[in-house]
Each structure stands twice: as C-alpha cells, then as structure tokens.
Symmetry: C2
Subunit: 238 residues, 2 copies
DNA sequence: CGTGGTCACGAACACTGTTCTAGTTACGAA
DNA sequence: TTCGTAACTAGAACAGTGTTCGTGACCACG
C-alpha cells in the first residue's frame, strides 16, 4: 500500500474491517500463518491440544476455513514437521569434526521436537516425502559419509538416529507433560521413580532394584548423548 | 451344572437365555477377555481401529460396560502392552551368549509389536509402571550386565534399545498400513521409494540421490538388526 | 428375604476431524 | 463499469471418539 492508501485505511471506520457478516478477512490467511499458529499452540499447550478448532481459534477463524489451506490434519502435521526441519542449520560436513557435527544436528532436531512438546509423534507418523525432512536426512547422511562411514551403514545409521531422536523426544515430552499434571498418581520425579524401582521385589527384579540409581540417573540429555555416542562408537568399529 | 440342569437348559425356549431385557450376561466379561478381544481387533485391523465401541462390539456388549473392567483407554493400553510383555520368554543370561540373547529378546519384543500393528505407539506412551513391562526391562538389563556391561551403560542402553524397538515397529507398522491402503498417492514400495529419492535434485540432495539404493535397502529386519548391532559394538568398546 | 455390590446398558455429553452449503470478496476479462 | 469466477470464510451438520450418569438386573451374603 502506498501512503495514500494507508491514510485512507486509517480514516475508515474501525468497524468497517470487522463487519460481522463478512465472509472474507482483510487479508486471507496464508499457509505460513496456519503453520505459525499451529506451532504456537503446540509450544504453549502441547501437540495433543492442537485440534482444528483450537487452531482456528488461534487464527480467529472457523475450523472449516483451515481446509482451504491444508488438506487435512495429517497434511498439517507434515507442514509442521517440515517447518521444524527447515529451521535446522546443517553444517558443511568436515572429516575432522563430523562427530560433533552429527551430535549438533541431532541436538538441533531434538531441541526442535522438545520445543513443541509431543510433536515428534507426528514426525514418527510421516512417510519421508517432505522436502525439508529429506534435507535433514541428506545432511545427516552427508556428515556420516564425510566421516568415512560406508554408504550402507551411513544410510541405515541416519535412519536409526533420526528415528531414535523422535522416539526419545516423544518419551521426554510425555514424562514432562505428566510432571505438569495435577494427578498425583503420575507425579513421578526422579527420586520417586527411583524409589519405585527400588521397592520392586528383589527376588523378581534383582538388577532393577540394585541399579535403580543408574536406571534413573542422568541430567539433561545424558541418555540421548549416550545413545548417540554408542552409535558413533559402533560405527567407528565397522 | 449337573446333568439335570443341563437338560433343563436344553428344554428351555431358545430365546430364554437371550432375554432382550437382560442386563447381565451368563458369565460376566473378565479383564482377560477384554484384553484378548482388544488384541484380536488390533491384530486384525490395527491399533487405530481399536475404539471402545469396536472393542465392545467384539465382546458383544456396550462400550459403557467396558468401564467396569478398565479405568479408561489409557489403562487398556497399559493392559495390552503388559500382555505383550508377559508373553516374552526371557532367557537365563549367559555370559557367553548374551549378545544373541539380547538380540533374541529384542526380536521377540519387535515381533510382538508387529503382530499387533501400530500398538507400539501405546508402548511409547507408557510410563514404565506395569509389572510385566518392568520384567522385560529387568530381563534386558540382566543380559547386558551378565555380558559385562557397566551398570550405568547397561541401564541406559536397555532404555535406548527398548525405545528404539518401539519406534522402529511404529514406523514399520505405518509403512505396512500405507501399503495396504488403496490411495495410490501413498503406495510407495521400495522401488518406488528408491525412484523418488533418486529423482530429487542432485544439486541439493547429492548423497541421497547417489545412495538411493542404500537408503532403501534391506530385507526383513535388516535395519533393526543393524541398529542393535551398532549398539552392541558401541558397548563392546566402552 | 433384604441389601449391597457388581455388571451391563442406554442415553447423553463433550469433543474430534471433516464435509457441505452458502455468503462474501477480490480479481480479471469484456 | 459490469459480470463471472475463483478463492476464502463460516455455520451447520455429519460421523465418529472416549466417557459419564442413571438405572436395571443379577448375584452373593447375612
């Protein structure tokens, strides 16, 4: 809009743009806005809270309007995961630092998933057809190949690592969500979980009882890092 | 029933035992029957088809009746996964064959999950509070410890392996389900998938295009076995 | 026999994703 | 400028989901 149009808009009555009977908004919603709003809802309320109605409310529109922009909910899922993947910064693979590079990309993926609690469930349900998802796969594969991993092992390891990342994040999201719920039955922080494991009958669960501490140990993403490390160690000796 | 009662029953009119107004069955449904029927539905139609109504139909009862036996759907999920785990045969850990033992337990878990397509999604959503789930965890942990893996590494590796198994099975279930759907958009067998990868722009996806074959390679559970092997190799060098 | 507990069932509720229909607006062509 | 069409929006409705509530029937026990 040029300055004249902007001024004309300011001089319009305030209600003019919000006519109750209006069937068209000033500016149509864009798919990008749909994705933005959806991610906003997921970030604030978790993936399970993302219903078409919830999303429509966030966009100040009706749920039926969303179908002008997304095919269905599965399509929306794909757009969401694609957006997450698009935001990952993939390094130029370097044969001297490829391990750290790999850890970095996986950590980014992990953190994206965790920024949007529960969304990795959508990631687990996708066939890898989205271009951005393929970009991340390409990035992981490239790092592994640059690191000297054989093509077949690199291909399968990339698959396994991305799969594990999604599953890990789903589990973390669920545990965190449970921690925020008021239902005391499920409030199991680490000490409580450790206590539960330690209280199992030792005759049936000797090692679980003995190593309850180790089973519940780990700060931050120790488990995640450990598993990635295992895979890297495994690859190093193939 | 003694012989006299059986004869009296046979002489009753056929409708007598099926009184329309009857609010109680001959023999009440048991939780075991609920789980059996639920697993039957999942095996035949997939996890997503398992609704309370579908289950109630399979049991020739009403959906509300199910709540006399299970707390809610999440509780049912837990019972189902518990049943799957209860059927796993855990070996007496042997320090000379622990690797094969571990592969065997994970393969059983994998196969149970795949026998009931999509059910591993329920497994991913559970807090590990069920006794049978804990039994399997104990079994995996024991094998690793017997194999000389340090307790902390064993604890975290057990966690990672079970998580990966569930995720792997979820993905396989989804791919298989898609293969059975008539919607041609999603019918991507291996050759088609390979073709799609190979058709990506080589400038953006050089390695994906070059190694489309490797990315789509693998028979049966090659990928699964590869990943478990990676973890074992990683553990061997810690 | 009376009572309490358990099971089963129907109706209803609140919610989900989605389709269908109709209204409105924007845009391009005549 | 007018008209037609495409695109967008919104409400109603549909079919489905998990679950609750109230009630009836049955069974076991005192």
């Amino acid at each position: 809009m040029d300055a004249r149009e902007r001024r004309a808009a300011r001089h319009r009555s305030p209600a003019a743009g919000n006519d109750v009977g209006s069937r068209r908004r000033r500016a149509p919603i864009t798919p990008e806005q749909v994705v933005d709003a959806a991610l906003g809802v997921v970030a604030a309320e978790g993936y399970e809270a993302l219903t078409m109605r919830r999303l429509a409310t966030a966009l100040d529109t009706g749920p039926a309007s969303l179908y002008a922009h997304v095919v269905n909910k599965a399509d929306l899922d794909e757009l969401l995961i694609g957006r997450l993947c698009a935001e990952l910064v993939l390094p130029e693979p370097d044969p001297t630092t490829w391990r750290d590079q790999l850890r970095g990309v996986l950590a980014q993926m992990r953190d994206q998933y965790l920024r949007y609690p529960g969304i990795s469930r959508a990631g687990l349900a996708l066939a890898p057809t989205d271009r951005e998802i393929a970009r991340v796969s390409e990035g992981v594969l490239s790092i592994l190949l640059t690191g000297g991993v054989a093509p077949q092992a690199a291909a399968w390891a990339a698959d396994a690592l991305l799969l594990y990342t999604a599953a890990y994040c789903l589990e973390v999201s669920i545990v965190r969500q449970r921690a925020t719920e008021d239902d005391a039955v499920w409030v199991l922080d680490r000490e409580e979980m450790r206590g539960r494991l330690a209280a199992l009958p030792a005759a049936t669960f000797p090692n679980t009882v003995r190593y309850a501490g180790e089973l519940t140990a780990g700060e931050g993403h120790d488990r995640f890092d450990f598993t990635v490390g295992l895979v890297l160690d495994g690859l190093a000796h193939r």
